[in-house]
């Protein structure tokens, strides 16, 4: 039932899958919606929506679907049936899914389904003795699915019916929307490969070394001699330089995703994050808001590096040529760089054996984007990859081969 809601949810970007939809049908069969639209609203949300970020989209879809039914009043029976007739393939299921669906529905075919639906609706009309004040036909006809087996279709009255739509309509979850979080996990999985395991790091030796234990025990003539070792940990230290502000504002979502992914997978031995604007000069900022009181000297950072450090720069490399080429070319008028940006970039590049530059500008635009000249120059210096899942994969590959 409620396929329309399913499609409305998908249309509004709630990633509800057929599995979840079938789970919802089970919940309805079990009477969990409590025979009211308010109950249905909550139960369906618990089953189909898996992130508070999608609650708002759920509300929107819910209102769209049920407000339509509500407004149409008693005509809804015909409308739903007609809709079913017109869209025999409405669910758009594959044969395989269809088979599973059939199994779940005890091999009901569409005609049988429709016949039962009909029957149920008829039953309902009788039960209500045509009580036309029960506007909730839309709700109850659906509720009939959950309540009909026991005949217990209690209509909580129009008030209750409207409640759920009103609750949904108030869109209380709007501020929880975060369309940006998609893809964080994918980035995280790609970044997991960025590791060099080593047991030479600090930490307690609390892992049983089976081979060494066998050797030691054999050497001791069979007297048990346990040997422990330090667990292997990731020895990679990562320096992340992020370009912020200006032309990077367009890419803020993408960079956010990468950033969250880096933090989540933070199995790195060390993660240093610094910010710059357009090009690296003598100072690096601690925060993305580029507070000038919280900076590091670039030289000091470069001086503190070990061979385990890898560099990832995230930036579009699109800037005025003067920012690369001239002393004092820095875009911030209140800072003056003695040496041109290019010298700084070369200096940074020379300090790392493993480095990659991630560019949020899609690779196909690299020749033509407004900063193509500087982009091409930077690209000659740093191995550059597109900031996308595929690009990140390549970048990690590159970092790891260099590391080998």
């Amino acid at each position: 039932m409620f396929e329309g809601l399913f499609h409305a949810l998908r249309r509004h970007g709630v990633p509800v899958a057929l599995d979840e939809w079938l789970t919802l049908q089970r919940a309805l069969d079990a009477g969990l919606a409590g025979s009211s639209l308010a109950g249905f609203y909550l139960a369906a949300r618990a089953v189909t929506v898996k992130s508070e970020a999608h609650f708002d989209a759920y509300d929107t879809a819910f209102v769209e679907y049920f407000a339509g039914l509500e407004a149409s009043g008693p005509d809804v029976d015909d409308r739903v049936l007609e809709w079913l007739r017109e869209h025999p393939d409405a669910l758009g299921v594959s044969p395989e899914q269809r088979a599973r669906l059939d199994a779940m529905l005890s091999h009901l075919d569409l005609d049988e389904l429709r016949r039962r639906f009909d029957e149920r609706l008829r039953h309902q009309t009788e039960a209500h003795h045509g009580g036309d004040r029960h506007i909730g036909t839309g709700g109850t006809s659906g509720m009939g699915h959950s309540g009909a087996p026991t005949g217990g279709i209690r209509v909580g009255g129009p008030g209750r019916h409207r409640t759920a739509v009103q609750v949904a309509g108030s869109r209380a979850w709007r501020e929880y929307r975060q369309d940006a979080t998609l893809g964080v996990r994918e980035f995280g999985t790609a970044l997991r490969r960025l590791r060099r395991l080593s047991s030479r790091l600090d930490g307690p030796a609390d892992e049983l070394d089976v081979d060494a234990t066998i050797d030691a025990t054999a050497n001791a003539g069979g007297a048990l001699d346990l040997v422990f070792r330090r667990p292997r940990r990731n020895s990679v230290r990562l320096v992340l330089l992020l370009d912020v502000g200006g032309s990077m504002d367009d890419h803020v979502h993408l960079v956010d995703q990468l950033f969250s992914a880096l933090h989540q997978t933070s199995r790195f031995r060390e993660l240093t994050v610094r910010y710059f604007h357009n090009c690296v000069y003598d100072l690096l900022y601690h925060d993305a808001d580029m507070d000038r009181s919280r900076t590091d000297s670039t030289r000091a950072l470069l001086g503190s590096l070990t061979s385990e450090h890898m560099l990832v720069v995230v930036g579009d490399a699109c800037m005025g040529p003067s920012e690369l080429a001239l002393p004092g070319g820095c875009i911030d008028w209140h800072t003056y760089n003695e040496e041109p940006g290019w010298v700084w970039l070369e200096r940074v590049r020379a300090r790392f054996t493993h480095c990659a530059w991630l560019n949020p500008v899609p690779e196909v635009w690299w020749q033509h984007t407004h900063g193509a000249r500087t982009l091409q120059a930077v690209r000659r210096l740093f191995p550059m990859y597109e900031l996308s899942l595929a690009g990140l994969d390549q970048a990690v590959d590159h970092l790891m081969t260099r590391a080998a």
């Binding site: 599995d19 009477g31 139960a43 618990a46 209380a172 996990r185 048990l224 989540q264």
Partner: protein
């Protein structure tokens, strides 16, 4: 199918209609309930309340960054077995003696339905939830060392909490019933504080709750205070004998509510700039 509406909240845990529905849907469908929300919204307490309300035991599996899925099923204590074989304290030929059940293992073996909470699942490795998919689906796992299969006689109620720090895998999410605990409204918050501090002066409560939401609304906060901070703060105000009218004006014991130095500074600056009136 189990009884309808088994969970109604408890005396000390107030559950809204939405939370009750989510819990009951999860119980009836025998799906894990994934609970997310800001820290301090009572996610772990929920599991306790569910166990209390169902009149059963609660098993807690606190997840840490080093936790592996295997830990929750069983641990094979090889070292103990080696020792026993050496020193003859026990019978090392019986491997079963060295299989220690983890939290899920215990829950599967329990003779009645228990509640399991997998607390802060997002703290573990990114693959951790995937590693538990099969076990949570089938409520069963195999022990290769002994050839035994542990299967739950009665499926436990599984509650999983997450601070939303990590994205959980889709396959895992699809199997869960999801509930997001929203931050309580002032009225709900007052109700919660009353539960923790019975017999509290209503005027003090109103003032503290109002001041608390003023603080929470500040934009500049690095860490927004949560329920537990308010409960502690009220305690401090009571112990300090602060009269209600001074709470909003002076915000005494602010360090109980705001934990970060920069947040304290921001709050004090806001108070200093506008005086008491505009701080509201």
């Amino acid at each position: 199918m189990h009884d309808a509406r088994p969970f109604e909240g408890t005396d000390s845990y107030i559950a809204g209609e939405d939370l009750r529905t989510s819990v009951n849907v999860a119980i009836a469908l025998e799906r894990p309930l994934l609970v997310r929300g800001e820290p301090g919204t009572g996610k772990t307490l929920l599991a306790e309340a569910v166990a209390e309300s169902l009149g059963t035991d609660l098993l807690v599996w606190s997840v840490r960054s080093t936790t592996k899925a295997q830990d929750g099923l069983y641990v094979y204590d090889t070292v103990q077995r080696l020792y026993d074989s050496q020193f003859g304290d026990g019978d090392p030929s019986d491997i079963r003696r060295y299989i220690r059940m983890g939290v899920l293992g215990q829950a599967f073996q329990a003779d009645r339905r228990v509640v399991v909470v997998i607390d802060e699942v997002d703290k573990a490795d990114i693959e951790f939830p995937n590693d538990l998919l099969w076990e949570l689906d089938r409520m069963s796992f195999h022990i290769p060392e002994t050839g035994d299969t542990v299967t739950a006689a009665t499926r436990p109620v599984v509650i999983i909490t997450s601070n939303a720090e990590k994205e959980l895998p889709d396959a895992f999410l699809r199997r869960c019933v999801f509930h997001y605990i929203a931050f309580p409204h002032p009225e709900q918050m007052a109700e919660i504080v009353r539960v923790h501090h019975p017999g509290l002066d209503e005027r003090l409560l109103t003032a503290a709750v109002e001041a608390f939401y003023v603080l929470r609304r500040m934009d500049a906060l690095a860490k927004r205070p949560s329920t537990s901070e308010l409960v502690d703060w009220v305690q401090a105000l009571v112990v300090g004998g602060i009269p209600p009218e001074r709470v909003l004006e002076e915000m005494p014991f602010l360090g109980v509510v705001l934990k970060k130095p920069q947040d304290l500074d921001a709050a004090r600056r806001a108070m200093a700039v506008g005086g008491n009136g505009t701080f509201r």
